[in-house]
Symmetry: D3
Subunit: 264 residues, 6 copies
């Protein structure tokens, strides 16, 4: 049995539909909790917003490890804080959507396209695609020119734009697989997949299922982050000496995680 935390890294109330997406696809033995942040912007379209929430995400990850989660998902397609979280996590797996979805996509076809909300997002996502070694597998980014908070305002219009972008990616750019490049696009992938006839990866689902996989690897095989070099954790003595938890930690993050996370 795995215990997985899904972090929605924004300062808003959790959307119940988002959680339902995970419940629909989880393995029977998986326990899911979902949590948002005690403060923060309502979306992370800007690098500045990512910077603001970064410390709280890392406090949640550290707290999740203390509360014995096996894996945590950082639920933003920028994969914000993924590497930092792997540095601070001692053993718990940490997963994020862009890495998870691109790696799945690369096994399902030769080339994939990522459908994003706005052109603004592309440079940062491209950096991640390069970091993950997927540059030569990317057919294109397609933008539907919708902000994160727009996806669910007019769902029919959103579906229409995603469908059109997907069709262009397939017919003009050579995509064989599509990835939805924002966790706020939950709810659209199944219908798109049926209509377009190619795999359409929901980033929330891709990350969550990868977290189940990663948790299994940690639990059964102890295949967790190497603590040499890239993910060497900071020494507790320094955190203590410089009172870093006191200065940066959210005072009631432990309680927040315990109480506010939506169990399922």
């Amino acid at each position: 049995m795995s215990k997985i935390l899904y972090i929605d890294p924004v300062g808003i109330e959790l959307v119940q539909e988002g959680l339902q997406v995970l419940l629909d696809v989880k393995q029977p033995a998986t326990e899911v909790k979902m949590v948002s942040l005690p403060r923060g912007p309502h979306h992370l379209e800007y690098r500045y917003y990512e910077a603001l929430v970064l410390t709280d995400i890392l406090q949640l990850v550290r707290e999740a490890e203390r509360q014995a989660f096996d894996a945590a998902v950082i639920g933003c397609f920028y994969d914000v804080g993924l590497q930092q979280a792997r540095e601070v996590a001692e053993r718990m797996a940490v997963v994020a959507p862009c890495e998870a979805a691109t790696r799945i996509a690369a096994t399902l076809g030769d080339k994939f396209s990522i459908i994003v909300g706005r052109r603004k997002w592309i440079p940062e996502m491209m950096e991640n695609v390069v970091r993950y070694g997927m540059k030569d597998r990317l057919a294109s980014f397609k933008s539907v020119e919708l902000g994160v908070l727009d996806f669910h305002r007019d769902q029919a219009e959103t579906a229409r734009r995603l469908r059109q972008a997907g069709r262009e990616a397939i017919e003009q750019d050579g995509a064989e697989v599509l990835i939805l490049g924002c966790t706020a696009t939950y709810g659209f992938y199944r219908e798109l997949q049926a209509e377009l006839g190619v795999p359409v990866l929901d980033p929330m689902v891709a990350a969550f299922k990868t977290a189940e996989f990663a948790a299994d690897l940690v639990t059964r095989l102890s295949w967790s982050h190497s603590k040499i070099a890239a993910y060497e954790s900071p020494p507790p003595a320094e955190l203590e000496a410089w009172r870093l938890d006191e200065q940066y930690g959210h005072p009631d993050m432990a309680a927040w995680l315990r109480q506010r996370a939506k169990p399922a």
Copy 2:
């Protein structure tokens, strides 16, 4: 529940210890079968040997799909026939060790090394590392100068060589994670991992666990190979018209798979 076929793509009797490796790490609900080939060389160190067994591997994969397996593993670190198998498989996932292990490794650290048996193997494996987008994550290939059939002749000596190669990879080449680059190295990774203090990925296990993951994605989400372009399957009418099954198919492959595969 997933039903997974592990193909040992050589023409020798199955080694019981190999199967045990999978039984030790599988999820409770997974059903495993293991099968070798009805004919063939005893190892695949040469591209020529790979060429010889390729058709039989693909017949097994097609037969496995008919017998309702959810995923198949092609158990050779050259990933022989992986792309061809994804072309012929209509829906069943197909997984192979190098792709599986390098993708896991890339989430556990910045750089990994692959420990191989002989220098001869490196160029073909490097091609796969490049194809999988992992070139910049590869710290080095290390060769222990042992053939496939040598790994279990003197296990203490093999362990000693793997340990030394691993240590050099970590200390001199910058590796943070190690991958054993031959499925015949089963049985060594746990001890190495304990001794060296970094994750050591067994390719057989990495591929098998990835197959469980891939089977889950197919079953719950219909995320299977895109049938556009790279993995478009050959048209049945052509197979029929040119009598390809008759000319190349092994007459009793269905029976071979049904009877000889070791259930677990």
Copy 3:
């Protein structure tokens, strides 16, 4: 004088026009033979078909070396079996169209486009372009949406499509040189070249002329495949012990090569 074997790796009768293409361009002292396979699909558009014919191609290559050919051409633009053939050939040169044509093209201009029959072909050909180091020289793949067996059904229509694709490649994609990406396109390049005003490389001719060159290098300079690492040949003792020729060899391949190859 060089003796060169051109293998048409499909299970159909040889097309006389194909052979004539080679006779028209060979050096006076070159002896050419052309042979197809004793069985097999009628085209190789699918990886599965390539897998099926691979063993027979390699038997032909081995037999050609025994019959003292200086070079063999594997006549399919997927370059199927090229690396395996170089592994089994002890000294005889082995050449294939994509490698040959891209290397010539790279000396004639900065960028070239490859005109293919169907989109399906592109991912595998792209892998070869990458392997040959030509990715940055490729302007584009252009597809005329014709199968291998369609090129000579309506030659005027084929010529029209090739011309249009070529023109787009030159004007929109930046191509300075064109490569026809299928050996079944023989007969079209001279007219295209005259019309479009850029070099148009016929893959059959490019491979054959490169085979003359390679044969000359082997004969005069002993510059043949290095038998270290990538092209180390399998040890005869293993072939013998595991009865591989008996199990996979075509019983009358020697006779087939001797009798069916079209001399010129």
Copy 4:
């Protein structure tokens, strides 16, 4: 005349010697201020520490723009927050040491090496080297196995290690130029340069001089960050609506910058 802020992004008192380094190399008309952070770890060797100080760095950058600085330097060789700062800065240039030093080095020779304190640092710095397009110009990273706080403990020993690492980089790795990969190495480059006979770039100086250059480009030519895509700034209305300054801003950062920055 340019007004430049040098941020030492750690929570310790400013080291007077560091400031002197800048005073020694500035153009006559340049006004320099140096400031550290009101809280924070004493070095940034871990990604976690970078995450902690990130928000305060960005508040300083925003405040510096309000106080009419022409350019800001983020004084850590990880270039922490460089891209985020360019997003929030409307017009003021932002510069960081790794980008600055590698770009200078690439004009002074074909290959350079970066001498770092600890192996731990290499993966993150390598990501920056790749992002800056300098991967093929990097001869090697050399580690002297000293932490940030160790460089000035025993300066003779530090000089000895830097010299030895530099010599190895030149003689074994092909370096023609050396970069010191930590801003805490101030004070060592001139002597090293004289001893080794190649340019040795001090990262603090390289960043500061680049800031003078960037400030000049902004002032005279309005060549500042493009506000399309990558560096599009967050909309003030959102910052307001979600009370982000209130929640994340340091209450007295404006005063801190005004009072604590060391003028020169």
Copy 5:
């Protein structure tokens, strides 16, 4: 104070407007001289023309160093002779427009486009973009199909074409910054920048300002070309023994530089 030589590497009288461009943007303490060649073609659109003027450029560079210039600019966007000049210059900095402009552009946004005169120019400029590590930052080359000598024939038409090419680069290709890819485009960037709302880099200005920067680094920090490997200068003894100056040097280059260079 820096003394900078701007070489217009063609055999025509200097255009006064060009010099004015530099005077308008220089730092107060900078002394500029501009010089053309005593012979040569009127533009350098062909590699052959570059070859012809190369020796005279290098003589000018050597003479400039003798006459105590701190930096020289080779004013052609092909960066003709840049590496050769760095080899012969002992200490004086040498700068060229493509290197200078692409490095500035890369700090102002994620992607830039280069607007060129003719398609002919692209392959050679692309080689430089690759050499400078900027391939992944290049959004596109856009051609306005005007020769070097056409830019100032009908300035309104030129401005119109540059504007349209710039707009397409921004809207279709993802450019955030524009570079004008010919030094003969002086006079257009400010208006374009205002109209298009993104930084537009004039290559002449970018190179000249970079020369001021480089001169400052040489003067204050002795950061000049490493004389190991790539830029090792030819030994004077060989020049003497083979009478190379006598055979290739222009007899009155020293006088030419002294008299014809336009002081400012």
Copy 6:
């Protein structure tokens, strides 16, 4: 029958042994001429020397085309002037050693090493290796620390150094094929090849044999340089109007080529 000019691009008397190397390996019907330059340095180790001889090389190439040669070889492993020569040649093939040798090597094994005289040479040669798409096939550069003029001073010592460098390349760097990286190393490859058991490519021979091949392609197939973009030739009207031949041409190059070229 092909007529090939081999240019030894230095200002010294031709070495008869060099010509003999070509006579020993040419096809019966090939006519060879060899010529050096009427002036120039005695070797081209510096970019400056290459710059000096460039114009004369191009005059020779143009003159060779007028005198009906089918191909010209520029006999320096820097491939000096190769691209410029392809621009000025209308139809005649132009070949150079590094391009020729690396392309042959890439068909003979997976990785090759290049043995050079001095470290100084490596950066420029590496640029060519990258341009030719061979970066991933290069195992290493090995330097024997001998200048061009040293190779034949003590041939036994030279052979010893080449052998040792070759052995290290094979055993430590993974090379399967060796290339001698200077045309002045003629006379050594056969013995090295026999001793080391891998193909050893002489650059002079590799270039010359490739010229025979290229000449054959031009003659029989009209596969010559595309005159679009990269190799578009300068317009004769400009050469005329600006009196470029008069200003840069060597007055008696036609006679030089006719009389001084050593026929064979």
